[in-house]
Amino acid sequence: MIELDVNGTLRTTPASPDTPLVYVLRNDFGLAATRVGCGAEQCGACVVLVDGAPKYACTLRAADAAGKHVSTVEGLVRDGEPHALQRAFLEEQAAQCGYCVSGMLMRAAALLESNPSPDDAAVRAALEPQLCRCGSHNRIVRAVLRAAAAMKAR
């Protein structure tokens, strides 16, 4: 059994060590927010934070996440309160189909952790590895900037 710290909760999975983390999160832990897109680190739908750094859960071995802190979108909510990024995504209606949103949120969360005052170009550069097919890019950028402003105002 592999023991994993996901969003501050220790959980165990019977998955083999080579199992990509994304399947453990979704199928064993019922955490559906981390999504399967390409299985090859090319689209970013599966991005989670491992010890605060964005990682592709579609290729990260479950065994390699043991002993580290894994954060997913489900962990952004604190005490029932949505994260500023989640609020901002809703306020800007920053999605169409919404499938890419989880990866965007996690990548953006990592950005705001390291750079609380990004400008438009910095947000775009950070989100460059994330694919969106519906054309919601500009709304997503506005949402991240809005969240940054809200977090600073607090």
Partner: protein, 704 residues
């Protein structure tokens, strides 16, 4: 006097209770046959229902479409959902409100006209009231719509026409399970399919032993060249799939055309020619002083949704339940019924949302995959997920097209006769319309369904490759013909805007060439040939925005304009862009204006316009399905790149609200005008006309 006519999908499904159900807990269930595909339709339909019933939007619950109980409304496609489902629901709600109003009056012992209806309550004053919830009784709506009653006038709308927050986004932003990919019913197994390496491949031999020996593998299914595996765990299914791939021997053949000579290939194939439009000049036509001739092409284009297609299926005896992100639950059911030789009633197809859907993608195909695999494990649900490679190589493509245009001009450069010949595969191979299934796996089984040849729907219902082949401008003479190519080495079907993308790109490029010959401002030419005031309004709206009006000529930059009325009878849309040319083409700014009639959710319309425009920038600058003579080679994001954040232009979307005009779809109007505006901006920047998409720096250099 004849009975009032019902909206078409209501006439097909007249039972009111099929559309609407009031519950004791105050929730109003709305059952539409249209489905959410990322376009926000559920939100707009909820706005319509809330207004017509006088309930709070929070009381409205949009129930996922299901063949077991939803109204049959065909396919969610063609930007028709508001026209169809919206108008049907409006009438249903209007009649249901009258029925409940009468019931409320009886219950309260007052005259119905004295009741105030608000927030789902019927108020008689003096503290006496009742509500839809109090009166909820399915028997009340167990009757057919009559067409009686008049839906509310536009000025009485509180929700319709006002920006609304999308109902589905909270789940998606909070990371709650919402997509078909997220379903996890108890006892669920995981399925994967081994797709052939190429369209012409046949399975010669397969040693299944290594896959079968893997602990946790429950079944290996083989039916001709269709191969799949079912396992207790998803990663085991993937490992087993790898074993099967290594143990499969295929016979492959060169069935694909030369990707560098698609126009020649299209014209050389057997084809079916149909006239699209013909108009002789009313006056005696002078001989042309000049004829402009050109061929415009677009390649095969992939849907390239961010999520791989997915479905679940569970068999109980001779009955199967399927969960699918299909655009047409009844159409899919019809093809599954043929595939399994079952009566349609033995099959339930229930919709669950998938990722963004821009046309006929792999959703229906994966549903058959799931049903085939689940049949091996009766009683247990099986979830099948395609791989990225399956998605990019096996989902139907938007067909390659060639558009030959010849325009006769008089001595002043005015158009005398506009001729066009459109060459393309058909734009629909959707399920549910033929005697044999069009689903992918059906063509791989031991007793294969015959190969399908994509069709075009009749022009009256939107057409296919001929969509927008006829210029919408006031021109004296027209001769437009469509040539449907009957050889189909790559599976083609509906992709956002269908033929309108290439046709509008071609027409609007030609219009700029004509303006250039005349030395006329291209916006001026368009206005001079557009009498329709609504068309003129969108052209003028965009011409007044920054990318056009405030534009300053400078080295390496250009501006371009494009306009069309989608389908000739749908949304009016104009686009202006600025491009920057360096070692690549970049769209820096884009303004888009549209008149979609009454925009039920103006923010939803703006989102669709902007999203459509950005996707069209991606198609225009970057996208082409790649293949050699045997295999599709663009089966990864590396080989099928789409637009990224750093390449996305600043976009201003303008919705010209028309509260009094019928709603028209918004999802597809942006595509053609955006492509044309980009090509025209490149011409403006460097004087080079690129007529083949994608419009790359290499193509500009080659055309110089």
């Amino acid at each position: 006097m004849s009975a009032p006519s019902l909206p078409p999908t209501l006439a097909r499904n007249p039972r009111l209770g099929r559309w609407l159900r009031f519950r004791r807990d105050g929730i109003v269930e709305v059952h539409s046959g249209k489905v959410e595909i990322g376009q926000g339709i559920l939100t707009a339909l909820a706005q319509i229902a809330a207004d017509e019933l006088d309930v709070d939007p929070s009381q409205v619950r949009m129930v996922p479409a299901c063949t077991a109980r939803s109204p049959e409304e065909g396919v969610t496609s063609g930007s028709l959902s508001i026209q169809h489902s919206g108008m049907a629901l409006r009438q249903v709600c209007c009649e249901a409100r009258a029925i409940y109003l009468a019931a409320a009056a009886r219950a309260l012992g007052v005259d119905a006209t004295t009741l105030l209806v608000r927030g789902g309550r019927f108020d008689a004053g003096g503290g006496r009231s009742t509500s839809y919830a109090d009166l909820a009784d399915d028997a009340l709506l167990d009757r057919d719509a009559t067409g009686a009653g008049t839906p509310k006038a536009p000025e009485a709308h509180e929700r319709v026409g006002t920006p609304a927050m999308r109902l589905d986004l909270p789940d998606k932003v909070m990371g709650r399970p919402r997509f078909v990919q997220d379903l996890l019913p108890p006892g669920m197994l995981h399925g994967r399919v081994l797709r052939p390496p190429s369209p012409g491949a046949r399975l010669e031999s397969l040693d299944e032993s290594k896959a079968r020996a893997l602990p946790g593998v429950v079944a290996v299914v083989r039916d001709g060249s269709f191969v799949g595996v079912v396992a207790e765990r998803e990663e085991v299914a993937l490992t087993a799939l790898g074993h099967l791939r290594g143990a499969a021997r295929w016979h492959e053949s060169e069935t694909l055309p030369d990707e560098t000579r698609l126009a020649e290939w299209l014209r050389a194939q057997p084809h079916e020619t149909t006239p699209v439009a013909s108009r002789a000049s009313a006056s005696a036509t002078p001989p042309p002083a000049k004829t402009l001739k050109a061929t415009f092409t677009r390649p095969f284009i992939a849907h390239a949704s961010v999520a791989p297609s997915c479905a679940l299926a569970r068999w109980e005896g001779e009955r199967v339940h399927v969960w699918s992100h299909t655009q047409g639950i009844f159409n899919l059911r019809a093809d599954l019924a043929i595939a399994f030789a079952l009566p349609p009633e033995a099959i339930v197809v229930e919709h669950r949302e998938g990722a963004g859907c821009y046309g006929h993608n792999g959703a229906d195909d994966v549903a058959l995959d799931a049903a085939l695999l689940a049949r091996a494990v009766p009683g247990r649900p099986v979830r099948v997920l395609w791989s990225r490679e399956d998605e990019l190589a096996w989902a139907p493509f938007g067909p390659a097209m060639a558009v030959d245009i010849a325009v006769d001009l008089d001595a002043a450069g005015e158009v005398l006769l506009w001729r066009a010949d459109v060459w393309s595969n058909g734009h629909s191979s959707r399920p549910g319309r033929a005697a044999t299934p069009t689903l992918l796996a059906a063509t791989h089984r031991a007793e294969p369904a015959p190969p399908i040849v994509a069709i075009n729907m009749p022009l009256a219902t939107g057409g296919g490759s001929d969509r927008n082949a006829t210029p919408g401008y006031d021109l004296p003479g027209l001769e437009i013909a469509n040539h449907r190519v009957l050889a189909m080495p790559l599976r083609t079907s509906a992709l956002r805007a269908l033929g309108a993308f290439a046709n509008v790109f071609a027409i609007e490029s030609m219009v700029d060439d004509i303006s250039h010959v005349r030395g006329e401002d291209p916006v001026g030419w368009r206005l001079r040939h557009t009498a329709d005031p609504r068309g003129r309004a969108v052209i003028e709206a965009v011409a007044a925005r920054a990318p056009w009006a405030l534009w300053k000529a400078r080295e390496g930059f250009g501006r371009g304009f494009g306009y069309a009325r989608y389908k000739g009878n749908g949304a009016y849309c104009a686009v202006a862009v600025e491009v920057e040319l360096t070692h690549r083409v970049r769209v820096t700014r884009l303004a888009i204006a549209a008149d979609v009639g009454l925009a039920v959710n103006p923010d939803g319309v703006a989102n669709q316009l902007e999203g459509g425009a950005i996707q069209a920038v991606s198609w225009t600058l970057k996208e082409a399905v790649r293949f050699d003579r045997t295999r599709v080679t663009s089966d990864r994001w590396e080989s099928y790149p789409i637009l990224r954040f750093s390449e996305v232009p600043a976009v201003e979307a303008i919705v010209l609200q028309q509260r009094e005009a019928p709603s028209m779809g918004a999802g597809e109007a942006a595509m053609g005008p955006t492509a044309a505006a980009i090509a025209n901006a490149v011409f403006d920047a460097v004087g080079v006309r690129v007529r083949d998409l994608p419009l790359t720096a290499e193509r500009i250099a080659a055309a110089s």
